[in-house]
C-alpha cells in the first residue's frame, strides 16, 4: 500500500460531489440524532435503545408495505406514531424509575435494545429486507457534473422540516414552554403546576417517534435488518453530545461532521475518515464538554 494509493489528489468536480454527499450524510445523521437530542437535551437520559427505535421504525414500514401494501410515504407518519407509543411504554415502565441514576439509564436501555433486536430477529428472521419507494424518488437529478439521487434530496428536505417542526414545538407551543421549564428545574416547574412526569413521558415518546420516522426514511435508502440500529447510534450520540444536547447544536454538528467525514473520505477512505473524525470529536469534547454553542455547563 503506497502513499499514492492511500491519498487521492484534489480535483474540483469530484470534490464538489463529495461536498454534496457530505450534506446528504449530514441530513441522515441529523435525522438519526434529532430524537436523541430531545431526549438527552431535556431529560439527560442516555438512550442506548435509540438505534433500535430507528430499526423498529424501518420494520414497521416494511410490515405495512409487505403485508398491507401501504405506500411508503404513508408509512412515515404511522412509524412516528407507533414507535412513539412504544417509546412512551418504555419510559413509563422503565426509564422514569431511573432519573436519579443517569448512567443506569444507559445500561438499562442497552438491555432494552438487546430485547428489541432479538425479538425482531425471532419474528422476521435475520435476513435483510427491502422496501419499495415511489417512482419519483428513484430518479437521479443531474446538474452539470453533479448527480444526486432524488431520495437524498427528499430526506434532506424532510430533515430540515423535522427540525423546524421540533423547533416550533419546543419554542412556540405551550407544551414546549412546559418542557423547557421542566428541563431547567424539575421541582420548580412541578410547584408551578406542571405535571413533570407527564412531560417527561411525552418528551420521550416524541423523541422515540422521531427515531421511528427516521427509520422509515432510511428504509428507503438502505436494506433493513435487526441490528441496523447500532450503525446509527454511535454517530447519533456524537452529534448530540458535540452539539451540547441542543437543537441547533445538533444541526450544526451534523453539518460539520457530515462534511468533514466526506472530505476526509474523499482524500483517504471511509474507515480512515471515520477514525479521524471520532478522534477529533474526542479531542473536541476534551476542550468543550458543554458542546459547540452552549456557553457553560454545570459539571456533573
Amino acid at each position: 500500500m503506497s502513499v499514492h494509493d492511500f491519498w487521492t489528489p484534489f480535483a474540483l468536480e469530484p470534490f464538489i460531489n463529495a461536498l454534496i454527499i457530505g450534506l446528504s450524510l449530514a441530513s441522515i445523521w441529523l435525522v438519526a440524532a434529532l430524537g436523541l437530542t430531545i431526549i438527552y437535551g431535556t431529560m439527560g437520559v442516555i438512550n442506548m435503545a435509540h438505534g433500535e427505535f430507528i430499526m423498529l421504525g424501518a420494520y414497521i414500514t416494511w410490515i405495512l408495505q409487505y403485508f398491507l401494501g401501504f405506500p411508503w410515504l404513508l408509512c412515515l407518519p404511522i412509524s412516528f406514531v407507533v414507535v412513539g407509543f412504544i417509546g412512551w411504554l418504555v419510559e413509563r415502565g422503565l426509564i422514569r424509575h431511573l432519573y436519579e441514576r443517569p448512567l443506569d439509564t444507559l445500561l438499562a436501555t442497552w438491555g432494552v435494545s438487546l430485547v428489541f433486536i432479538q425479538s425482531i430477529r425471532l419474528i422476521f428472521g435475520g435476513e435483510p429486507q427491502y422496501i419499495d419507494t415511489p417512482e419519483w424518488l428513484k430518479s437521479v437529478i443531474e446538474i452539470g457534473f453533479v448527480y444526486i439521487p432524488s431520495i437524498r434530496i427528499f430526506i434532506f428536505g424532510l430533515a430540515l422540516g423535522l427540525v423546524g417542526l421540533t423547533w416550533l414545538l419546543l419554542y412556540k407551543s405551550n407544551f414546549g414552554v412546559q418542557v423547557r421549564a421542566v428541563m431547567q428545574n424539575r421541582e420548580m416547574a412541578a410547584s408551578f403546576g406542571i405535571n413533570s412526569s407527564k412531560v417527561y413521558g411525552l418528551t420521550f415518546a416524541y423523541g422515540a417517534g422521531l427515531a421511528g420516522i427516521s427509520g422509515a426514511m432510511f428504509s428507503g435508502l438502505k436494506t433493513i435488518f435487526p441490528d441496523m440500529g447500532l450503525g446509527y447510534v454511535v454517530e447519533a450520540f456524537l452529534v448530540v453530545v458535540t452539539g451540547g444536547g441542543e437543537l441547533f447544536g445538533s444541526l450544526a454538528t451534523a453539518g460539520i461532521m457530515g462534511e468533514m467525514f466526506s472530505i476526509f473520505s474523499y482524500f483517504t477512505n471511509d474507515t480512515f475518515a471515520r477514525f479521524v473524525l471520532f478522534v477529533l470529536i474526542v479531542i473536541f469534547l476534551r476542550f468543550r464538554p458543554q458542546g459547540i454553542f452552549t456557553p457553560s455547563m454545570a459539571r456533573r
Binding site: 500500500m1 432479538q118 474526542v282
Partner: protein
Amino acid sequence: MEKRNLYHDKRAQWAVYLVAFGVLALIPVWMGDDPFTLNQYARYGVFGILALSVSLVWGFGGILSLGQGIAFGMAAYGMAATMQMQYQDPVNDPIPSFMLTNELTALPTVWEPFWHTSVGLILAMGIPVVFFVLFGLLMFQARLAGAFVAIMTLAMLGAWYNMAYDMQPFTAGFNGISPPNAFQAFGVEVDPYSSMIYWVSLGVLAALTLLTKLLLQSKFGTIIQAIRDDSERARFLGYNVAFYQVVVFALGGLIAALGGMVWVIIVQYVSPTALEIFFSITIVIWAAVGGRMSLFGAIFGAIFINAAQSYVGDEFQATWFIILGTVFIVVVRFLPKGFAGLFEYAISFVPNPLPPSRSLISGQQK
C-alpha cells in the same frame, strides 16, 4: 454501632477468594482432562479477567468505560503478532501469508519488533497501557465524568475497530490473524487444549484478582472509592483526582490487556470482533449483573452468564439475548449492586461468628 455484616469482613472475604480459586484450580483433576471443556473453561477465565477490569474501573473507580475492548483488542493483536512471528522463519519465510496476499513485499516496520517474543509480550502489554494513560489524561484532566466518559470511550473503541478492519495489510482486516502454532515461551509450549491452558488462564485471573483486592484495601483503594462517591469533596480535601482516575483507568486497561493476551493464546485467533462495541458493552453487563462493587461478584457474573449461555442448549439460543436483556434490565432497575448486593443483603441476617477487629473491616457500609 452498625451491625457487623460478615460480607464486609476482610478475613471472610480473603477466605472466600482463596478457597474459591483453590477449588477452581482443582477442576482439571476432578473433571478429567477433556481438552475442549478445558479450553472453554480457560475462555471463561478471560471473561472473568475482563469483568474484573470493569469492576475495578467502574465499580470502585466510578468510571464507566465502554472501551475496555480497546485494551483487550490491542493486546490481542500484539499477542497474535508475536505468535505469528514465532511461526515465521527469518530467512526463508519472513512475511506472514496474509501480507503477501495484500501485496506487501517486506515486513512492515511496526511488525519488526515482534520477532522477539519477549519484546512482543512487552509491547502487547505496554501499548494499551500507554494508550490508556494518554486517553485518561485527555479525559480526566478536563474533569470529564459519567456519561461523557462512556460516550468518549465508545467513540474511541469505534475508531479502533475501524482501523483494525481497514488496515488490511497490517491486521488482515475482517479475516483476522490466526497464528498456526501454539504459543511458546522460554522453551515451554502452551497447548490451548490441555490442563495447562486452564491453569494459565485461572492463574492470571487469580493473581490479578488478589492483587486488585490488595490494592483496593490500601490507602489508594480508599481514595479512589472516595472519588467515586464524591469527586468534588475528594478534590477539596486536596487529592489530585485526575491522577487517581488516570491510574485506575490505566490499571483497568492493563488487566483487560492481559486478558486479551491470554485470550489469543487460548483461541489462536484475533479479528476486529475483539474491538466490537457490542462485546465491550457485554463485558459491562457481566460485571453489572454479578455486582460491580465486588470483584468476586463481577467475575462470577461473567462466568455465570457465559456458562448459562453455553448450557441453555440450542433450542434457547434464539431467545438468549431476550433473556439476557431482560435479566440486565431487571438487575439495573432493582439490583444496582447485582447479585453480589443480593448476597450482601442475605448474609446480613447470618450472625458474624468472627470476633470484631476494627482494623480489619473494610469501609464499604454505605
